[in-house]
Every structure is written in C-alpha cells, then in structure tokens.
C-alpha cells in the first residue's frame, strides 16, 4: 500500500493534480474500448508498455539517492497525453456527419480543456506572463550595474552581491567575478548560520557570509573588511533597505553608484603594510 501511495505521490507531483489528466485517461479508455486496432497499437499499447517502469514496484526498487531515482518523475515525460486528447477529439468530431455536430464536439472539447485545466501564464497559482523590461532580456538594474562596476576600468572586478544577483547577473555580464561560487551559494541557502560556522567553509568566507549575508554584526567590520580583501573583493552591492548601508556609510566607504534597487560600495584599499 505504501508503494502505491508513494507512486501516486510522484504522479501527483508530475501532473500537479491538474484535472486535465482525466481527459487523457478518458481518451485512453475510449481508444482502448472503441478504437480500431491501429489506434490501440499507436496509443494504448505503448502506454501499457510504459507501465512496466511507471509502477509502484519499480519506484520501490530504484533507490531515491541514485541519479535515476532522484529523477524518476521524468519517466512520465514519455506519456503522450496531449497528443492523445487531441487525436481523440478530432476523431470524435470526425464521427459526426453534420458540420454543427463537429463544431459542437470541438467546442465541448475546448470547454473541457479550459474547465479542467490550469493554463500556463494565466492560470491559478501559476507564474505570470512577464514582458521583457528592455531589449537585453534582463533587469534594468543589471544594465545600470554593469555601467557602475566597469566605470573604474578594473578588469574582471570581484563583486560581493546578494543571492538573486549572484544567480543571475553573470548571465548578462560575464566579465565580473563573484565572491561566492555556486557551491557557496548552495551552502548559504541550505545551512543555518550555526551550521555554516561549524562546517569546513574557509574562515574568510565564514566571516563574509556572517557579516554580509546573515547580518551578524558581532563580527567586527575590520574582520569583514580583511576577509573581503583576502577574497580580492573590489565592490560590494547592497539592497537599498539593507542595514549594511548605514554601517558602510559610517565607516566611510565610498559609494561607486546607485541603481533603482542597489547601492554599489567600493571596498577601501587596504593600507600598505
């Protein structure tokens, strides 16, 4: 029973519990019962064949930790559900002798699709459709940031920026380097502050993460500055509402520029010693 529930959960995740799958099931049953030999061979047999992998027993046999187990859900890609519904609808329409009958089948199918389904872009709890802000397909702020980060002519400047910028900025401007790597970011997002401090993360990175990311101001500014300098940081980017702005301002850091969302600070050069 546990296996069946676990399998159904995976299918539930795949289908998003979208009721449109009821139409696909109805189409499959219709073709299995009323379809011709060819239709059964094209649509029903392959789906039955797919069941030799898409079943509760296989789910329990493949360990979750394996690459395949981790991505078992992708086996569901092979189910030709939208082609199945499309074919059955056209088939049913074709069975009507009159034009009005055919039109009625199409209208009913369209209504069923709209009523049972959840549309991409415009459906319920669905990420919305967003037109690009500019011709570069990036945030306007990124375009402004690029100007600021390269204004001093530093070749491949090293930048300390927040999670969103860390993830997306280099898509637009690959000529900068980030203080945090992808693995570093992963640690930040999956570990608590205490776990990070207890981990084998470099001391300098712990200090930077603690001060900049977790806003742990028990860390002295000087320690953060030194750690940032060790990592070769040229600029620090902060959001406008960040408490770091006040600290950097009081410490006399120079503002290199501002965008509508971010402030760019230049790290003071370490005194020659």
């Amino acid at each position: 029973m546990g296996r069946i529930i676990s399998f159904l959960k995976i299918f539930g995740t795949y289908s998003g519990k979208n009721h449109i799958w009821v139409l696909a099931l109805a189409a499959l049953i219709f073709l299995a019962v009323k379809g011709t030999k060819d239709e059964r061979r094209i649509f029903v047999w392959p789906v039955l064949c797919a069941l030799c992998v898409l079943n509760p027993l296989t789910v329990s046999l493949i360990p979750d930790s394996s690459t395949i187990g981790d991505r078992f859900i992708r086996f569901f890609w092979v189910l030709p559900f939208y082609e199945l519904v499309g074919y059955t609808a056209v088939l049913l329409a074709g069975k009507c002798r009159r034009k009005t009958g055919r039109a009625a089948v199409i209208v009913l199918t369209a209504a069923a699709v709209v009523l049972t389904g959840n549309m991409v872009f415009f459906g319920k709890d669905v990420p919305s459709y967003e037109l690009p802000d500019n011709s570069q397909y990036t945030d306007d702020d990124f375009i402004a940031l690029k100007e600021i980060l390269h204004a001093d002519g530093i070749e491949r400047p090293v930048v300390l920026y927040d999670g969103h910028l860390m993830l997306t900025y280099r898509m637009y401007d690959p000529s900068v380097r980030s203080v945090f790597s992808r693995e570093g970011l992963y640690r930040l997002t999956t570990m608590t502050q205490e776990e990070l401090y207890a981990s084998d993360t470099q001391k300098a990175m712990q200090l930077i993460a603690g001060f900049y990311y977790y806003h742990d101001f028990s860390i002295p500014l000087e320690s953060f500055e030194k750690a940032a300098a060790v990592k070769g940081t040229d600029y620090i980017v902060t959001a406008f509402n960040s408490p770091l702005n006040e600290i950097f301002s009081e410490a006399g850091f120079e503002i290199s520029g501002e965008t509508s969302l971010y402030r760019v600070w230049k790290l003071p050069e370490a005194p020659a010693s």
Binding site: T13, S15, K17, N18, I20, L23, A24, D38, I42, P46, L48, C49, A50, V53, R71, I73, R74, F75, W77, V78, P80, F81, Y82, E83, G86, Y87, A89, A93, A110, V113, V114, G117, N118, V120, G123, V126, P127, S128, Y129, E130, L131, P132, D133, Y137, H164, M166, L167, T168, R170, M171, Y172, D173, P174, V176, R177, S178, F180, S181, R182, G184
Partner: protein
Amino acid sequence: MAAVLQYVRVFAAILFYLCMYVCVGALMPEKVHEKSLINMLIAGFMAYFAFFQVIALFCKAKGVPLHVLSALWFSFLVAAAALDLVFRRQMLAECIREQIRRIKKEAVLRGMLAASVAFAFFIIFNTDHISDFDAGYYIGLIASSAYSDTIERVAAIWGYEISAPQAFYFLNTIPDHASVMVQVFHIPALLEEKIVFSFTNVLVFMATLYRIGTLLFAFRKKQTALFVWISTAVLMFSYSLAGISHYFAYRTYEGKAVCAYLYMPAILAFFLCIYTEGKAGRSGLWGWFGMFFAGLGGVAFCNSAIFVIPFAMFIYLFSMLFYRRSRKQLLCTLTVFLPAAAWLILYVRR
C-alpha cells in the same frame, strides 16, 4: 543603432538555425526525408545535434579553446551546405518551390504557419522563467565560455577559471553549442537562449506536432490542423511545476525542457512513420533515422535523456515487436538503441 544591429544578428541566427537543420536533414538519402521539408527539419534537428555532440564532446575532453570548436563546427556546417549545393540543389529548390506553392494555395497551411510563428513570439516574449538557480547556471555558463573563449572552463556563477568542466554535466554539450553561436554571431547569451533557441525550438515543436497529425490523419489538412491546435491547447492548460507544460512555456531553452517537449513527441512521430509505412510494406526510414539520431544527440541536452529517450523508444518499438514479429524490425530496433546504450555505458563508467 547597436540594438538594431543586434536584433538583425538575432534574426539572422534564427534563420541560420532553421536553414541548417534543413541542410543537415537534406543530406540524408531521399528515401529518408522523401523530399519533405518538414521531414528534413525534424530529422535534421536530431542529426544536427547528434553530430555536434560527437564533435563538441571530443573538443570538451581535449580542453581546446572555444574558437577551435567554433571553427570545426562551422567547417562541418559549411561542408554540409556545400554538399547540399552540389548534390541536393535541384531537390531542395523543388521542395521549396512546392512548399511555397502549397502555402499560397492552401489557406489551412498558411494559417498554421502564421499561427505557429505568432505562437513562438508569444512564448519568447515571456521573461518569467521561474528557476533562477538553473537559468543562472546554464546561461551563465554559455556567457562565461564565450567571454573566456574556453569550453566550460570558467565557473558560471563564480566567474573564476576551473581546471575541468563540471563532471556531472560532462556529456551535455548544448551549452557549448550556444557558446559557439554567441561567439560567431556576436549576440549576448541571454538573447541566444531566450530568443533564438527558444523561437526555433517552438517552431520545430509545432512542425513535429504537424507531422504527427499528418501521419495520424493521412495528410487530411483540416483534421491535422485541428489536432495540432487541440494538442497545443491541452499542453498549455496542463500546468504543473514538474510537467512538460512548465518546461515548454517557461524554460523553453533549457536542455531538459527540449528533451521533454521536443524529443518525446518527435519519437512518437518517428514511431508513427515506422508504423504507418510498415503497414504499407515500406521501411519507414525517416522514423528509424530519426530515432537513431535522437538516441545519439539527445544526451547533449540533459543527463535524463540517457534513460528517458531509450525508454520512450522502448515503449513504442517493443510494443510493436509484439504484434509485428519481424526480424528486420528487431535488427533496426537494436541498431537505434546502440547510441543510447553507448552513452549509458559512458555515463556509468565516468
């Protein structure tokens, strides 16, 4: 002015992609594509990325600079175009003339083409791509490779040089293809992925659905068009975070998305060709060639393709072996599984 020039290059790149898919598809024997531009486009897409996978993987393993891969790949494409000019010129000219004649004559085809282009624009104008974590890595990697003239030797998020490409993504060469195009066409990685690649992929997807429709409805135009649009509507209304619709609508350019929304229906189309032609006593070569190249090139897009593509081929071909006990078909089936098996072995051994 610079922005206009950039968009001229973007448009040129879109045309280039589509022309090259057809060019590579046209090189297959005439028995395969049967002088059909759609057959050339779909099988050409599969073959294009299969050949790229072989060349790029070699270059990636050797750690050569990106411009070497660009030169090699463009030499290959120039050679393909030259071979087409010498051996396929007349046939291609006939195909294009015939296609234009049909488009002029048949309102259904005209409507399909116009609607497909409009649909592709609709998809690419959305910039809400949901997954920053994946997009940042995939597109960041393309931008980094093109900027540093290396093949995946600069970390996508970090921006520092790394000694070797990420082991987990080693077999996936699709970011390298995009890097080559970014380097050659001088377009930003974001535009290459979110406009050029996405736009062409939507068109190839629509062509694949159309081909499925022609095979299911024996070239009856109205039924085919209706099938294409109902199927597309069902896909667009089947939103789920882990489903194909999500990949198709929001992450059109991503490797795993292409595997989900393009390779799966293409494999159905190839199977339908084998099935329907087999019934008429013909070989269904387009289907066999398409499946072979899908198995060879699919892994360029994502690691999941290593097991999902053979599984998709398995459910269609092995069910067919049950009711058509033909030794020839068994041999063909085993042949199309060879590249997929080779990738699996390579993946496990690494």
